[in-house]
Amino acid sequence: MKEPVLTRRGFVTGALVTAAGVSFTLSLAGCKDRTKLPDDGEPGVELLSWVVIHPDNSVTLRVPQTEIGQGVSTTIPQMLAEELELDWSTLKSEFYDPAVNAARENVYVWTAVLSSHSAQTLFEPTQRAGAQVRTMLIRAAASRLKVPEVELEAIKGSIRHKPSGKELSYASVAEAAAKMPVPDPKVVKLKEVGDRQLVGKPIPRRDVDAAIRGKIVYGIDFELPGMRFAAVRQSPTFGGKLRSVDKGSIKGMPGNPEVVKIKGAKVGYNAPVPEGEDPDIWAAPVTMDDAVAVVADSWWQAKTALDALAIEWDAGPHAKFSSQEYMKTLAKQARGDAPVVVEAGDARSALAKAVKTLSAEYSYPYMDPAPLEPINCSAYVDGGEVHLWTNSQFPDDAWHIAHSLCGVSPDKAHVHILPAGGGFGRRLQNDFVHQAVQIALACKGTPVKLLLTREECVRKSYYAPITAARFEAGLDGAGNVTVWTCSVASGTSAEQSYGETRFPFQPPNVRFAYKRNPDSPLPFGWMRGVGFTQHLWMNFGFLDELRLLTGRDVPEFYRSLLDPSYIPADLEDREIAVARVKNHLKLFDFAIEKGRWHAPKGRGRGRGLAVGDTSYYPSYPSSTKAAIVDVSFDEKAGLRVDHVFLAVDAGTVINPDIVHAQLEGGIAYALTTALHSEITVENGQVQQSNFHDYPILKLDQMPAVTIEILPSTEPPASIGEDAVPVTIAALVNAIADAGGPRLRSLPIAKILAN
């Protein structure tokens, strides 16, 4: 049994309890008078790391991920409270503590906001934790009342003795419950699906009221007395070095500006990597360049001084880098001998035997995920401790950076998670944490908040990788696809999610090749939809080009390729692969019917269809989704996206309203990606800087949306990223169907304008 530990929040942890209701005010050695850190604790008894019961019988649930808009502050409490039998209207939540997660061997299971892993990974553990705590509370009440456990039931924060009607609040038995042996999570009884009160219900988000009143405290809003503010300029070229900075150039400016040099560094990796695995497969290295910060009494003063600061940079080895030239190199590599990663059948001889063959080249530019809240992080270093206030999507890594960079023991690093104004992958790279800690180390005893301008965010982001692909395929005399090959070359990326062409369809002969080109100076970053965003639309674009050669009907042609008999007999996890194809077929038929594929189209209208999952390998869990996109196209009036239909099979849905919201938002994200997003580089520098030249979809371009969720009792699957790839894939074919151009590169708005 673990020793009780008094955490900074003042909760008594572990299964032992010394004193419930103990109050603990956070105080720090060496802390100056003007810096009073907030005491974020409330007295209570902690049960199994997930639940804290307070003396007033209110309950706090731990949310083991950062809220970035995906709704975890609602969905995770829904899952926990379902088995715990809480009064939904009075429950509270707080974000997990990465130090606790590390000390308790990853008790929160999956804490990075990555790869749509909230419901799908946490549903089972949170249900079991809720049921364990409920069982412990019932046992404590049974012992108190001296009645058998079976005569007790948990209802809305109380244990009720059924025969007598007597009730005990959770708070009154919490201390005793914490001393009970912890029930085996595998044997605790979970509710029947039909008995669920919270899971599956469209409960309003818990943060709606605060959001519409401007009361959510995002990372950017956090402030402490005596805080100073940092504006940052990073090397304008990637890999550039700071040569010199003239501190005299800002002397006497308002706000007592001081200059802090930030050293470029290898920050770490941008995803959790399982022990013994190759980090370059699972993630990508996060590097950051030299930078200069100006720290002042207000951020505007810091920014103004930074703008006036004379800085000299050594442009470094990539001073001549051009993304246009680099794309040519990648296209050449895609045409050449990229290493084969997947092969089934004999592609070479099938191509030789084909009655008709077709080849085409596709490409995808660099992109910045561009969450709306600019990158920021607050840090405080003093007295052998470090505190961070951050909305990183990877707080465990932020915590690691904090204690290793400050050279303090891990328990002296405290990460306080705050909500984010969007993330979309950008905040998985903790460069801003590294920078904020470096600044705080230079300003010991003073809390500092780093905040980047939008320009800095766009020019020094972590980018979706630039990619070139070459397809070649063959048809037999009856218009059947006999062979499909695709060769891809891309800049630095995480190989697992970008390396293979993602495609649900399975012609008899297949060859995929992938070359990861290491010469991109732009650092790789995650972006909503990851590699699927790139590959799915290219695949569906080329597939449609091929279909047009055959004259076959879209659903019939696609369905003919969703044929499990083509899956190689010796494929590892073949059964799962076959099940995947069947899932695709089921959802495909559901979408054709519900999405009214066969409804008449007007003149100048086009319709496109795509189906896919976001599974890296057969056993990787994923939802299945299909999109039908309707557009109007006219040479003069241009393109209008009229309607997007989305069907999804995501297993058990925790909160249908949040699922709808995520899919609606994913459609908007897809349209921005397809229509507008492109980062270009010339002379080693990003040419875009703000929303005028890196535009985001606005209300006037948002189409009508219809969403259908396939009813299911299977475990929950991914949702957050899922709308993006299929929407783009259906969109490019809808444009061609409407008489528009065949699009083989992005962004569409730029291509149509030329």
Binding site: I68, Q70, I212, L372, E373, Y669, L699
Partner: protein, 153 residues
């Protein structure tokens, strides 16, 4: 020293008149509901009302605001009772929520001038950016606030 009136309260501030109103609201007065998104008047996260008109406060100096009545999200409806906020709550608009104070301020100003906007007028009148893509719920909430006929008050 200059004086501005925000949400009915007068503030005397030692501040350079060239500082954008956004930073004065957020940092001098402590009203953090108004958000920074772009600093160039492009995204609208910083939208407030100056004498009833929607203004992008990141590209509007505090000096320009002297003598005007400024309303921020905190002053629109303190407990979220403004009809536009009520419609937002009903439609479950926010995801990350970051753009929503600016969106609500833009929508409230639109409805004040035009209590029954057409869909085109909504699209032309609300040009703020929502990166989460809540636009259809925004449109629905504006329509519903307009239909309820309560927003123009």
């Amino acid at each position: 020293m200059l004086e501005i009136e925000v949400n009915g309260t007068k503030h005397r501030l030692e501040v350079d008149p060239a500082v954008p109103l956004l930073w004065v609201l957020r940092d001098s007065i402590g009203l953090k509901g108004t958000k920074f998104g772009c600093g160039a008047g492009l995204c609208g996260a910083c939208t407030v009302h100056v004498d009833g008109a929607a203004v992008r406060s990141c590209a509007y100096s505090v000096g320009q605001a002297v003598g005007s009545k400024i309303t921020s999200i905190e002053g629109l409806g303190e407990s979220g009772e403004h009809p536009v906020q009520a419609a937002w709550r009903e439609a479950g608009v926010p995801q990350c929520g970051y753009c929503q104070p600016g969106m609500i301020m833009a929508a409230a100003a639109l409805l004040k001038n035009n209590p029954s906007p057409s869909d085109d007028e909504i699209a032309q009148g609300v040009t703020n950016i929502c990166r989460c893509g809540t636009y259809n719920r925004i449109r629905k909430a504006i329509r519903s606030a307009a239909e309820n006929g309560r927003a123009g008050r």
